[in-house]
């Protein structure tokens, strides 16, 4: 167990009452803006003092209102990657990177050269932040936090201010941090594709409360947990690249079912995660014929949750895992959908990485 958080805090009209545990891996605080995500991560970093609660990392207490413990940020040993980078404008990239090194505890952790190579920022070392692009700045910010040898990384929507191309450039670095450095990461996001791609654990927040927390696939395929609303719901499946076809399509294997995607630049055998937006999953009660969609999965209805308006979210079991489909309540009635009913899920889009 790496991080435990329990806190209450009143911030304007938002009353926060939050408790969660972040095991090793990437834990994503997921929710709309205003749900309290940044407040929570700032409380963990020590930049905001909650009215009450308890925060500990690897058994080390950072904040405990009952005992009057409140470590200042510089003693918490957490590497914080801010949305706006917050590089020091009067220092070169090299000085920015080494700023925290003198305070880092002795011992292991990645060395300067390794971090610079991992992030591909050798060419930037002599430059100043003002002359860097958004993506370059994001990479330097990651490196700067890493070089303090933190016990944990905090990232507050580090990709939110980047365009899609830059996002696609930076996301793999977070995957490598997760997979290669074995460093726990608390990651704030409101982007479903980022969550699907990075999260080991998801803590879904809404109006200052934890809706649900647990393994990413379980939380994302829970039809009752839609912190961004039905429209943005979507499940995540673990898949593997099977083969590349001559017509440019890539075949993935998800638990014995094939999924076809436009050409994917990954070697056969590569494990990856795909996201199936509920919006893009249609239902048919009979095996559809004469349909242009390539991905049709046999499925069984597990649950039907009516939304606030005329929508409904249908939870489905497929051989590849649990997925969600967003349909109208009229369709639910017209098709006679109910629990246990066998259907076919027509998947219109499968996203691997952020588009």
């Amino acid at each position: 167990m790496s991080l435990t958080v329990r806190l209450r805090h009143q911030l304007g009209v938002l009353s926060l009452d939050i408790a969660f545990e972040a095991p090793p891996g990437v834990t994503v605080l997921f929710g709309r803006s205003g749900a309290g995500k940044t407040t929570v991560i700032n409380a963990v970093a020590g930049l905001l003092r909650p009215q009450s609660g308890h925060i500990a990392v690897n058994g080390r207490t950072l904040f405990a209102s009952a005992e009057g413990v409140n470590l200042p940020p510089h003693q918490r040993r957490l590497g914080y990657i801010f949305q706006d980078g917050r590089l020091f404008p009067h220092m070169t990239v090299r000085k920015n990177l080494t700023f925290g090194q003198r305070f880092a505890p002795p011992g292991g952790g990645p060395r300067f050269d390794e971090v610079v190579e991992l992030l591909g920022i050798e060419a930037l070392l002599a430059r100043r932040p003002g002359s860097l692009s958004g993506g370059e700045r994001a990479r330097v910010a990651i490196g700067r936090a890493l070089l303090t040898r933190p016990a944990m990384l905090l990232a507050d929507e580090p990709l939110a201010s980047l365009d899609e191309a830059r996002k696609a450039e930076i996301l793999p670095f977070f995957e490598r941090l997760r997979d290669e450095l074995d460093l726990p990461i608390l990651y704030v996001s409101h982007a479903p594709d980022e969550v699907a791609r990075l999260a080991t654990t998801v803590v879904a927040l809404q109006h200052g409360r934890v809706l649900r927390q647990g393994p990413a696939d379980a939380v994302l395929s829970d039809a009752r947990v839609t912190p961004l609303g039905l429209r943005e719901a979507g499940a995540m499946l673990e898949a593997r690249v099977l083969r590349h076809h001559e017509d440019g399509l890539t075949e993935l294997d998800a638990g014995g079912t094939s999924l076809f995607l436009p050409g994917l630049d990954r070697a056969p055998g590569t494990a990856l995660r795909v996201r199936l937006p509920a919006q893009d999953v249609m239902l048919a009660v009979a095996q559809p014929e004469g349909l242009s969609a390539l991905n049709v999965l046999p499925a069984q209805v597990v649950a039907i949750d009516a939304g606030a308006g005329h929508d409904a979210l249908v939870t489905l079991d497929t051989p590849g895992g649990r997925i969600l489909s967003r349909v109208t309540q009229r369709s639910v009635a017209a098709l006679g959908l109910r629990e246990g009913r066998r259907v076919y899920a027509v998947v219109k889009s499968v996203a691997v990485a952020p588009p």
Partner: protein
Amino acid sequence: MDVGLGPAEWEAVRLSIRVSFVATVASLPVGLFIAYALARWDFPGKQVLNGLVHLPLILPPVVTGYLLLLAFGPQGGGGRVLEALGMPIAFRWTGAALAAAVMAFPLMVRAIRLSIEAVDPKLEAAAATLGAPRLWVFLTITLPLILPGLLAGAILAFAKAMGEFGATITFVSNIPGQTQTIPSAIYAFLQVPGGENAALRLVVVSIAVAMGALLLSEVLARRVSARVAQG
């Protein structure tokens, strides 16, 4: 008209520069501290402190000089404390420096405070999360970023000190070689027949020193902001 400065005039110029320099350098740390407190901290009495700092800007200089005389004159409590410490200031050049420092203080604090308020506290928070203690954050982040403002404040204070007249003459009188700075000397020369030429020469010196300080501050500020610039 003789364009060279006479010994009495030289004395006034040297004294003025020395008084203004000491006043500026000695009040800079205090000014920085108070400007930081006003810009970044919330504490009871903040508005009172702010008012006190600005008082010399609003009060008639003679009033400020008289208050200084009451507090630091031979009979004043502050004066006796300094005298016991071996630093008598009544009717000495150190007293002129104190008067100049007090009069220049509001300008200095304003300039520094504005530059501190322009530094994004988020940068300081980021430095703290990287493990830097508060003092280190101040020395490596805040201070370099406010350096242009600090310089501007110091130059402004120096210029104000060079021109200080009312509070100085009230507090420490107009003693040649001790407290007779350029403005006091000009005033004294104008009181005696035939002193106009000497007064005029000092006027020219005043303008030259003021322009020099201004140019120096421009050059320094440009050099610093090129180093600190975003680009």
